[in-house]
Structures are given as C-alpha cells and as structure tokens.
C-alpha cells in the first residue's frame, strides 16, 4: 500500500492539493480532505478499472470529497437555521484578512479573481479550476466531472461570463468606494 501511495503522491499530490484548495478555499481544510482522498483511493485502488486515466480518476474522487464536505456543511447550517448561500460566502470572503497568505500577496487583479471565483456555482468553479488552474483538457475535465464534453463547454462559457460580470461589478464597487 505504501508503494501505491508514494507513487500517487509523487505523480499527483501537488495537483490534488491545489485542486482541493481552490475548491474549498481553506488550507487546513484542504489538508484534511486530501487525506480523505488518499484513504478512498487506497481502499478502492484495486477496483480501479482504467476506464479513465489515473489522474482524472483521482480528481473525480477529490471533487466528490469536496462536495461531500459542502453537503455536510449545508446540513449543519440548516440545523442552525442558516441557509448555505454562495453569494453570502463570497461576501464573507471579501474580508481581506481571511484571504490565504499566498493569495493576499498577489496583485489586486488576482485577489479579485479569487473572490469572484468563490461567487460562481460549484459546477462552474469545478470547471474553471480544472480547465484553467489545473490546465486539464476539455476531455479530461469531462471525465473528472462525468459530464459530456458539450456540458463542460457550456458550463465553462457560463462561468467565464459570470466571472466577467463579477469582476466588473467589483471594479464598480471599488470605484464607488474611492469616491
């Protein structure tokens, strides 16, 4: 089992961690979730059929784990009569002190993009992260998400549109603040 782990770690750890981080936008949480990914992967490695590439298989497991996490959060929030809302979360994240160190050090445009990304729907975020941050092809992204390539393309298109809108809105907001 250790050899399998080491092999996967060397090949994919950096990508997996980065993907999880951008999905959940929290370093500590990404560290916890990446462990869960390996647990699931090591448990089911023997049943991996090779229908998809090892890489897309791992990403797909990681995405499910991130979604499971969001769902558990959603349930918890419901218990305290708070609804889970992406825009609300986006607003919270705008508080610059909550930006992860690596992001806070970047130029303003990158910081804004990071905030805008968190306002997109989970599907849109998944596509954008896989396509542009992880540089996967349309076909690979489709495999990870278990979607058709055309669904990847339309979701990507909508995500770009949404990001553009959020970026513009944020710029306007900032100009207003300056005045």
């Amino acid at each position: 089992m250790k050899e399998v782990f080491q092999d996967l770690y060397h090949k994919y750890h950096h990508d997996l961690f980065q993907f999880l981080f951008y999905m959940v936008k929290d370093r500590t949480l990404a560290e916890d979730l990446v462990q869960e990914v390996y647990i699931k992967v090591l448990r089911s490695y023997s049943t991996f059929k090779g229908d998809s590439s090892e890489k897309t298989w791992l990403f797909s497991i990681a995405r499910h784990i991130a979604i499971d996490y969001f769902r558990s959060q959603k349930r918890k929030r419901k218990h305290i009569f708070e609804s889970f809302d992406w825009t609300e979360k986006g607003e919270q994240i705008q508080d610059a002190s909550k930006l992860p160190e690596e992001i806070a050090l970047q130029n303003e445009e990158v910081r804004k993009m990071y905030l805008c990304l968190s306002r997109c729907s989970l599907d849109q975020q998944s596509v954008v992260i896989l396509r542009f941050i992880q540089s996967l092809s349309i076909q690979e992204t489709a495999e990870v998400l278990e979607w058709s390539e055309s669904k990847v393309k339309t979701t990507q298109h909508r995500a770009m549109k949404a990001l553009k809108k959020y970026m513009e809105a944020m710029e306007e907001g900032m100009q207003r603040d300056e005045k």
Binding site: H13, L105, M160
Partner: protein, 272 residues
C-alpha cells in the same frame, strides 16, 4: 465579439496565474496520518449509514434474547424460588445481549450494502402499491414524496442512495450502480424541492417497484388523457412526452421511448 474574446483571454490568463498552492505536510507525515485514519475508522460514511441497520439488528437480537430467556425462565420459574429468579433473569439477559452485540459489527459492516437497502424498502413498500393518479391528486404525494420537501425529508422517504451528486440546484441519486435513478430539482439555490424525476431503468427495487416501466403500465397508472409532444431523449432517440395537468399547480410528465415503448423518465413537479 472581439471585446468579449479579449475579456475571456484576460480572465483565462488571470486564472492561469493564480498562485500555486503547496501542501505543507511532508509525505511521510501524511502517510502516517492516512494509515492511522484507515485503522481507526472502518470508513466514515458507511459507518454513519450502517448505524440504522446496526441499531435495528441489535434491537431485534435483544428482543429475541429477552423473549427466549423469558420463555426459558418461565419454565424454570416453577422449580426455583422466586426471589433468586428476578436477579438471575436480569443477569442472563445482559449476558446474552452483550454477547450478541459484540458479534454485530463484523457482520453488519460486510453486509451493509445488502442489508440496508431491504431495511429501507420495507418502509417504502407501504406506499409502493398505491401509486395511482387519484392518490397523487388527492394526497399531493408521489410515492410518499411531496413537492416542497427538503432534501433530508426526501431521503427520509426514499432511503439513502448508494451514491449521490448534490449541488445547489439539483440532487441526483443512485439506487443502482448503473445510473442515477432519481433527480430532485430545488426551487432556487438550496430551496425546497420543486420537481422529482425518476428513471425507472435504474430503479428496480422497493418503493420504486410501483413506477411504470412500459407504456402500457404508464397508461394504467396515469390514464389515457395526455398531451403528447415528441422530444429527443439522450442517445438521440425520440421520446413521446405525455403531460398530465394534475391541477393548476402540479403536473406529471412521462417520457416514453418511441420505438421501444419503455418509460425513459417520469417527472412530477410544480408548473412554472
């Protein structure tokens, strides 16, 4: 157009320039944690789900243990003094109960997937035989499901799926590994459920037995009155879509694969 493309490129390059995130955990450290987790918990999710069957199994075992001991004790009661019996009875019950409990985790873990489904289905089957158009119309329920339920309430009715894919607008549930059998569409992000879609080819058991699988079944459940439109189903087959207007708010749609006369999907939802 060119302006749009320019903007897209700008967004793409911004995304591509997002900082690379590195995990601060060392490989060895991470491996140790993983092994520890794997040893500690047999698995987080099944553990949760296995809780209900495990509990009912334990309850059943306890019930048998108590009834057997009480029968046995009733027989021996005549032979022994009553005072001694009372304390003896308790001890025996405890001993048998403990012994049985200790055996459960092993078996229930392995049989989890087989066991838990029939468990849920026994509850499901009460409503299963009663899928009729009139019942949907009067009781406002479809296989026990109401429009406006929350995700959790729905799971309470149809049982936990084998796999689920839930996001803010739609939940897709697998009750067969072959494909998603149930879809629930939420009203707005994370709102109550406004529409259920059932794919009978991926729903064979329990509650879902009542779902019509052929055109003839569908007609016998929902009746002959329908508006028919032809639509394209996945895989480029054409589907006849029958729409039933239950009342001013609700509708049922049945999609039937044209050349096979099998039901592709059944939708129960609120009109827009």
């Amino acid at each position: 157009m060119t302006k749009n493309n320019g903007n897209d490129d700008k967004i793409k390059s911004l995304l591509q320039n997002m900082p690379k995130m590195k995990d601060h955990q060392r490989m060895e450290e991470l491996y140790t944690k993983i092994v520890k987790h794997m040893d500690e918990e047999t698995e987080i999710k099944p553990k949760k789900k296995a809780y209900v069957p495990l509990f009912s199994l334990a309850a059943a075992v306890a019930f048998f243990a108590i009834s057997i001991t009480s029968v046995y004790l009733n027989q021996t009661k005549q032979e022994t003094a009553e005072m001694n019996m009372d304390t003896g009875e308790e001890r025996k019950e405890e001993a048998i109960y403990d012994a049985e409990i200790a055996e459960i985790p092993e078996s229930s873990d392995e049989q989890y997937s087989i066991q838990s489904i029939p468990e849920n289905n026994t509850i499901m089957e009460d409503t299963a035989h009663t899928l009729t158009y009139d019942k949907i119309k009067q009781d406002h329920t479809f296989l026990g499901l109401r429009l406006g339920m929350s995700y959790e309430e729905m799971i309470g009715v149809i049982g936990s799926p084998l796999e689920e894919d839930v996001n803010s607008n739609i939940a897709r549930l697998k009750y067969s590994l072959d494909g998603y059998g149930v879809e629930a569409t939420f009203d707005g992000e994370n709102g109550p459920i406004r529409e259920y879609t059932f794919y009978p080819q991926y729903l064979a058991d329990g509650l879902f037995k009542a779902l019509p699988k052929t055109k003839a079944d569908a007609v016998s459940v929902f009746g002959e009155h329908y508006d028919n439109t032809v639509q394209t189903c996945p895989g480029n087959t054409s589907c006849n879509t029958y729409t039933y207007n239950i009342d001013s708010e609700r509708y049922i749609q049945v999609q039937i694969v044209e050349n096979k006369e099998t039901v592709f999907a059944i939708r129960y939802g609120l009109k827009k």
